[in-house]
């Protein structure tokens, strides 16, 4: 049996071809076999998975209506709180931290009967684009294990691309869902800010963070999004929205797709070619290509890093070794206790970002950096608003590179520059989806990004779905676990 997506898996469970417990066992065994090689999971949650699977079997036997996610195995990024299950943020600081409450998304998925296979590896505190800042060692790309899986939700993407989970839940502060999805040949949806509750997501940059799915198709992304896009009274920024699965018609006739040349400057020819070819296919299917301009793109990246690091320096101030987390053993006074705890508990990239955030918020620099970045944020929002009066979505590359070699020699700033296409989306709080649209000369996946106006996930996922249909799904990763029932 080849169980590639949510629908196929759910169908096999409902028809009785395989039980939820048998399926969970098969996924757990596969994950145990391959995790040393891929480092996709920080932890496997065997006891929880088997208990949930048994409960799902019970619900199926009881009959009646149930979610398509019932009994379907998934992976949750390890910065999403799971009561009683270790949640590390891939940091020494939280290596032994066990949350006492659940994240809202975990509550929602559990209510649907989803089966949690494990917690996905990630860049430490979601700060990174390669997964290599993980305290546990970075996740490897199943397409080519000498390459990174991407970041920061790289472990989730690696697990889904390797067929060790049917789908995954990541978080995206500057591209952390879309970039690993692009590197691994998957679909990644960064929802509108506020569409999905952030309660229980361990904060990096609270005004930019958003939770969303990483899947093997647009249809699966819609199914998972529908389950988690609920208003949550315990997250004041959460607004929720209606589900979008019903919008996946595959029709793009009349869709106005914006092409901003700034996103295509200095691209490698294979990435440029693949995204423009996708644009041509949309046009052939009846969409209208609209030339637009986004001159502030060049400021998006530095503005993003100023804002994100400023928020991180504040959010990560809570880690002092007193109430939870790593605690140093050697110190001479309380001040040294806190400083050593933080320096030993955080990795180099996290310390760098805290330093930058503190610098831009400090007296003498606040106006020149932080305040100016906030003004840029407003200006970028205005530019996006103008663009969306003229088109329904923007089409761009997701990343200007394909999966990078592990242990690469990029400097911190060179690594940041690979986020150029994804960060504007978080700055304005818009939704965006990354979908596979080609391969480079090494056979590595290339992703295209569709950006929409707030709460228009329906348009983006329908366009991605239409593209899958037009291209006969040939760019999607088929990584189904082979299950012999």
């Amino acid at each position: 049996m080849n169980l590639n997506g949510i629908r196929e898996t759910s169908g096999a469970l409902r028809s009785g071809k395989i039980s939820c417990v048998e399926l969970a066992r098969a996924y757990l065994d596969a994950a145990e076999r391959r995790n040393a090689e891929l480092r996709a999971f920080v932890s496997l949650t065997e006891e929880t998975a088997l208990a949930q699977a048994a409960a799902a079997d019970e619900r199926l036997r009881g009959g009646g209506e149930s979610s398509e996610l019932l009994g379907v195995p998934f992976v949750l990024k390890d910065n999403i709180s799971t009561a009683g299950l270790r949640t590390t943020c891939a940091s020494r600081m939280l290596e032994n931290y066990v949350p006492i409450y659940d994240a809202a998304v975990w509550e929602l998925l559990r209510a649907e009967g989803a089966v949690l296979i494990g917690k996905g590896n990630m860049d430490e505190f979601a700060m990174g684009s390669t997964n290599e800042t993980s305290y546990f060692g970075g996740a490897r790309n199943p397409r080519d294990t000498s390459r990174v899986a991407g970041g920061s939700s790289g472990g989730v993407a690696a697990a889904v691309a390797a067929g060790l989970a049917v789908y995954g839940i990541g978080s995206d502060t500057g591209g952390s869902i879309r970039q690993p999805a692009s590197f691994c040949g998957l679909v990644g949806l960064k929802p509108t800010y506020g569409a999905v509750s952030r309660r229980g997501l361990i904060a990096y940059a609270s005004s930019l963070d958003q939770i969303g799915p990483i899947t093997r198709s647009a249809r699966d992304a819609a199914a998972v999004f529908d389950a988690i896009c609920r208003r949550d009274g315990l997250d004041m920024t959460s607004r929720g929205r209606e589900g979008v699965s019903g919008s996946l018609t595959g029709g793009v006739k009349g869709l106005r797709i914006g092409i901003a040349r700034e996103f295509f400057e200095n691209l490698p020819p294979d990435i440029d070619g693949a995204v423009k070819k996708a644009a041509g296919l949309f046009e052939d299917a009846g969409a209208e290509l609209v030339e637009v301009s986004f001159p502030l793109l060049k400021y998006s990246l530095p503005a993003y890093y100023i804002l994100a690091c400023a928020e991180a320096s504040s959010n990560l101030g809570r880690y002092d070794g007193l109430r939870y987390g790593y605690r140093t053993e050697e110190y001479s006074d309380l001040d040294e206790f806190i400083r050593r705890t933080r320096s030993e508990g955080f990795g180099a990239e996290v310390r760098r970002r805290i330093l930058l955030g503190t610098y831009v918020l400090s007296a003498g620099y606040y106006d020149a950096y932080y305040n100016k970045a906030q003004k840029l944020r407003a200006a970028i929002k205005n530019e996006f608003a103008e663009i969306f009066t003229r088109c329904d979505c923007l089409l761009t590359p997701t990343v200007p590179v394909t999966a990078l070699p592990s242990g690469g020699a990029l400097s911190p700033v060179e690594t940041y520059q690979t986020d150029i296409c994804t960060v504007p989306v978080n700055i304005v709080g818009a939704p965006a989806v990354s979908a596979p649209c080609g391969f480079d000369t090494d056979g590595l996946p290339i992703g295209m990004q569709l950006i929409g106006d707030a709460f228009r996930e329906d348009i983006l996922l329908n366009a991605a779905f239409a593209f899958e249909e037009m291209t006969e799904r040939k760019y999607l990763t088929d990584a189904a676990l082979e299950v012999i029932a």
């Binding site: 931290y97 066990v98 006492i100 409450y101 800010y193 506020g194 005004s207 009274g233 315990l234 004041m236 920024t237 060049k298 400021y299 990246l301 530095p302 503005a303 890093y305 070794g321 007193l322 109430r323 939870y324 987390g325 605690r327 053993e329 050697e330 110190y331 001479s332 309380l334 001040d335 040294e336 206790f337 400083r339 933080r342 320096s343 955080f346 760098r352 330093l355 930058l356 955030g357 503190t358 610098y359 831009v360 400090s362 020149a368 950096y369 305040n371 100016k372 970045a373 906030q374 003004k375 840029l376 944020r377 407003a378 929002k381 205005n382 400097s411 911190p412 700033v413 940041y416 709080g429």
Partner: protein
């Protein structure tokens, strides 16, 4: 480029220790990032108001409710005693 003195000042504000850091490498990395961020300081942008997220959000009713059980909260602390977190006294080792 950021000077070592500036770096020490920022690290003190951030409650980070620089003991054992390769100061030259750290200064070079942080300096490169600050230089990268300089683009913002010099940006010529249309006159736009500074914003937070640009959104307003509703507040919940301020209703008293149960908090998490104390023992559950203390379970993640490296040291606790009598229902309290234990912080080291100045000049003493904790463990």
């Amino acid at each position: 480029m950021i000077t070592y003195d500036e770096l020490r000042k920022i690290a003190a504000l951030a409650k980070l220790s620089l003991d054992g850091e390769d100061m030259a490498a750290l200064a070079a990395d942080v300096g490169e990032i600050i230089e990268f961020a300089e683009a913002v300081a010099g940006a010529d942008i249309p006159d736009a108001e500074s914003v937070g997220t640009g959104e307003t959000y509703p507040l919940r009713e301020d209703v008293p409710g149960l908090s998490a059980p104390r023992d559950d909260i203390l379970r993640n602390a490296a040291q606790s005693s009598g229902g309290y977190f234990v912080a080291g006294k100045t000049g003493r080792r904790l463990t």
